[in-house]
């Protein structure tokens, strides 16, 4: 490698990033040295993906500086990062599914062009695949869309390690082993060690703790946008990592009294991989675990089985509160009023004709009850702040007669005051016999639930009830220890 031995490849100093009211990064200082593998762990919302975005140039911190090889980088962006040899393997697939492996290499490496690029691209990508996953068996002329998920992930990782002009110096791997089987994962880990030994740097994020413990040189634990612990890997144990990710008990004041619902009738049930899911009348069931481990998919499945596609249902069986407001929540062209009433129009209409008087009245009721801050419910929904839009979505679901309400992490990016108001309403409604299935990435909310299912790798791996619903237990179940 070049002779800058002791200088950090990339160094982030006192980076602060906030999205609205949420502080995603609250003064993080992190340096990645050449020849080291940095393990990064933390629960949802700890700030892992934000710091990764800052390092790969996708996000400019609102405060703080970025240095590379000892010099301050004023204009740092995706292209600058790539030019410095920073590569990132995202959790979401970043290949073009309609192109072959070779063609994807061509897209990724801009300078491969010219006559005979196919041969060069083939050589680059195959050399890397052979190095990282010996005996991979992936023909490089296959279309990416035809590959299995594991094969795609292998290609993606190999692309990051591939060298065509700019040598990769820092590779960020965000859950790289999530769809690889054990032997492939071992090969990857072995390659990471070789790469690091040769002077490269890696940032390694994984929910499988022993992978981190055996591969990283140094492990950083993040929580609430801050680095809370940083020690050499040898000093850590699985136990101490889980403990460090948790916090001093907080939110205990919100704890609800344990309710005995064992006799209440089961209203929702689903079996699949892992433990069966069951929710009783009047129960608040939490879905926990790291984001993207199958919680939303299960909510979608629950919703699909209980809703009709062809004929309207007389009695709605299930209501849904979206977390991704833009994707499957609000109707952007509409007023607050219409957004609120869309799910319960059946109750507000006679023979298909909407009774606008009743609609306005119903909306007024909910405006008071859930305190939607707007002078006029006829205003556009986009005139509201994110938190108030979310309240409208709550009101939409709660104003139906559906006995079951599904919530898909609806509190992301919502301010504290709104949260407390909504918690209170959820509690009241549950007391009146409504069932809530609540997926949340925030520990505080999960701890409000009567019972919690913890998800890992697409399946329910633990069920916690009553006093067992603690941060420690949830963390232990979300991160896979070797024994599990």
């Amino acid at each position: 490698m070049t002779g800058n031995g002791s200088k950090a490849v990339i160094e982030v100093a006192d980076a602060k990033v906030s999205f609205g009211a949420v502080k995603a990064l609250d003064g993080v200082t992190l340096a990645i040295m050449p020849g080291e593998c940095l393990g990064l762990v933390g629960h949802n919302g700890a700030g892992k993906s934000t710091i990764v975005s800052v390092i790969n140039g996708g996000l400019t911190p609102h405060q703080g500086s970025i240095c590379g090889d000892g010099e301050i980088l004023a204009r740092y962006g995706i292209n600058a990062a790539r030019a410095r040899g920073v590569r990132c393997v995202f959790q979401e697939l970043s290949l073009c599914p309609n192109l072959t492996v070779i063609e994807n290499a061509r897209v990724l490496h801009r300078h491969l062009g010219g006559f005979g690029w196919r041969t060069r691209a083939k050589e680059v990508v195959e050399r890397s695949l052979d190095a990282v996953f010996p005996g991979h068996g992936i023909a490089s002329d296959r279309t990416v869309g035809d590959l299995s998920i594991a094969e795609r992930q292998m290609v993606e990782i190999a692309m990051a390690f591939s060298d065509a002009g700019t040598t990769p110096r820092l590779i960020i791997l965000d859950e790289p082993t999530s769809s690889l089987d054990a032997s492939l994962a071992d090969r990857l880990l072995a390659h990471i060690r070789r790469f690091v030994a040769a002077g490269g740097s890696v940032i390694f994020i994984s929910h499988i703790l022993h992978e981190i413990l055996t591969t990283a040189n140094r492990i950083v634990v993040m929580k609430d946008g801050r680095i809370v612990a940083e020690r050499p890997a040898a000093v850590w144990t699985e136990q101490s990592l889980v403990e460090a990710m948790g916090s001093v008990v907080k939110g205990e004041a919100h704890r609800r009294k344990a309710r005995d619902l064992a006799d209440a009738p089961v209203v929702v049930e689903q079996t699949g991989r892992g433990m069966p899911f069951r929710a009783r009348r009047g129960e608040i069931v939490g879905l926990a675990g790291l984001a993207g481990h199958g919680q939303t998919r299960m909510l979608m499945k629950l919703h699909a089985t209980a809703s009709a596609d062809w004929l309207p249902r007389r009695d709605p069986a299930i209501a849904f509160v979206a977390g991704d407001r833009r994707l499957n929540g609000i109707f952007e062209l509409w007023s607050i009023l219409k957004n609120l009433s869309i799910a319960s129009l059946g109750d507000l209409a006679v023979r298909g004709v909407v009774n606008s008087g009743a609609e306005t009245e119903r909306a007024g009721e909910w405006k008071r009850r859930i305190e939607i801050r707007t002078p006029d419910m006829a205003n556009r929904i986009l005139s509201l702040s994110g938190g108030n839009q979310q309240k409208v979505l709550f009101a939409r679901a709660l104003s139906t007669r559906a006995p079951v309400v599904l919530m898909d992490d609806p509190m992301r990016g919502v301010d504290v005051g709104t949260k407390q108001e909504v918690y209170e309403i959820v509690r009241q409604e549950a007391a009146q016999g409504r069932t809530f299935v609540w997926y949340s990435t925030e520990m505080e909310e999960v701890c409000l639930c009567d019972r919690v299912y913890v998800f890992r790798e697409g399946a329910i791996v633990a069920e916690l009830a009553g006093d067992a619903v603690t941060e420690e237990n949830i963390l232990a179940a979300s991160f896979r220890a070797e024994a599990a």
Binding site: I78, N79, R82, S94, L95, C96, P97, N98, L99, E103, N104, R106, V107, L108, H109, R110, G113, W117, R118, G137, A139, R142, T143, G145, D146, S148
Partner: protein
């Protein structure tokens, strides 16, 4: 090496099979069609349709759609039958100009994030208007060299077949083998990752539109070469035919999945569908219907094959 049948190959099999079946049926019904002249008659009009289909395919590769293909080809035909014959320099300049217009449309559509359907809808009126201005009544005459080229009698196979193969090879080289083609399809497949790798999506889209313009211009010239004269409505059906040809040949509306070879086969199949009926002594009334039916059958077959495939490898 183990045998891997890619989904793309499967996609290509169905239209190829459809074409073979149709051709076999035609030969069986009318063995005399299996001759140089017979084949030329069968596929006579395939060349301009194939070119227009390739043009449409390029637009569809970047997830757009061109509703002005028919009126654009008509317009080019009118230019070819007037200016290109009488004042070759002016004619060439006009045609080069409209190719640039196509590129600019791509740029505008990308910059303002406009729906390509509506923009090309508007353009279809513009091209139709220009065509009417040029040739208010059917007329004009094809340039002699174009006429000579289209009625050439190469050895072994008739011109229509030779030209179709040449078009398929050329389009394959551009779209499937060249770097530009890869990036164009990459934009269709995953625009964000192409952008993340540092490419200009704007330039790529402009390139795709410009290439489409060139192929559509060639379609118009080829058409005039076959019909000898032009009129403003000569190719209006090409809008729908070109879309159908792309889909028939294994292309898709979104995701950058296109196949130039498939598109040419699709165009040939659509051309043959009409002749096939006349051999069956079914009235030519059903020619268009047969094209629609073939489209539906091929799409159904594709769905079926996809189902079988995903049933086997799904997990």
């Amino acid at each position: 090496m183990r045998l891997t049948v890619s989904a793309d190959a499967v996609r290509l099999t169905i239209p190829a099979l459809a074409l073979t079946l149709l051709l076999a049926a035609v030969f069986w019904l009318q063995p005399r069609a299996m001759s140089y002249i017979g084949l030329n008659l069968l596929f006579n009009l395939a060349v301009p349709i194939a070119l227009a289909t390739i043009a449409q395919m390029l637009i569809m590769a970047v997830n757009d759609l061109d509703l002005s293909m028919g009126s654009f080809v008509s317009f080019v035909a009118c230019v070819a039958a007037t200016f290109l014959r009488d004042a070759p320099l002016v004619g060439t300049l006009i045609l080069a100009g409209v190719v640039i217009v196509y590129s600019v449309l791509g740029i505008v559509i990308h910059l303002r994030n406009l729906p390509s359907i509506v923009v090309s809808l508007g353009m279809s009126f513009v091209w139709a208007g220009l065509a009417v201005l040029l040739l208010p009544a059917p007329g004009g005459q094809a340039p002699d060299w174009v006429r000579a080229l289209m009625t050439m009698k190469p050895p072994i196979a008739p011109m229509a077949i030779v030209a179709s193969i040449a078009i398929a090879i050329l389009a394959h080289l551009i779209v499937m083998r060249s770097s530009l083609g890869v990036v164009i399809r990459g934009v269709g497949g995953n625009e964000r990752s192409v952008e993340r790798a540092g490419w200009s999506v704007l330039a790529t889209r402009a390139g795709a539109y410009g290439l489409a313009g060139i192929f559509a211009v060639l379609a118009g010239i080829a058409l005039v070469g076959l019909t000898t004269s032009a009129d403003a409505n000569i190719a209006l059906r090409y809008t729908l035919l070109s879309i159908a040809g792309v889909i028939l040949g294994g292309g898709e509306f979104i995701g950058g999945r296109v196949s130039p070879v498939g598109a040419v086969i699709g165009a040939l199949t659509l051309t043959l569908a009409g002749s096939f009926l006349s051999f069956l002594r079914i009235s030519p009334d059903w020619q268009i219907g047969a094209q629609g039916a073939i489209l539906i059958v091929v799409l159904a077959l594709r769905l079926l094959l996809n189902r079988i495939e995903s049933g086997e490898t799904g997990r």
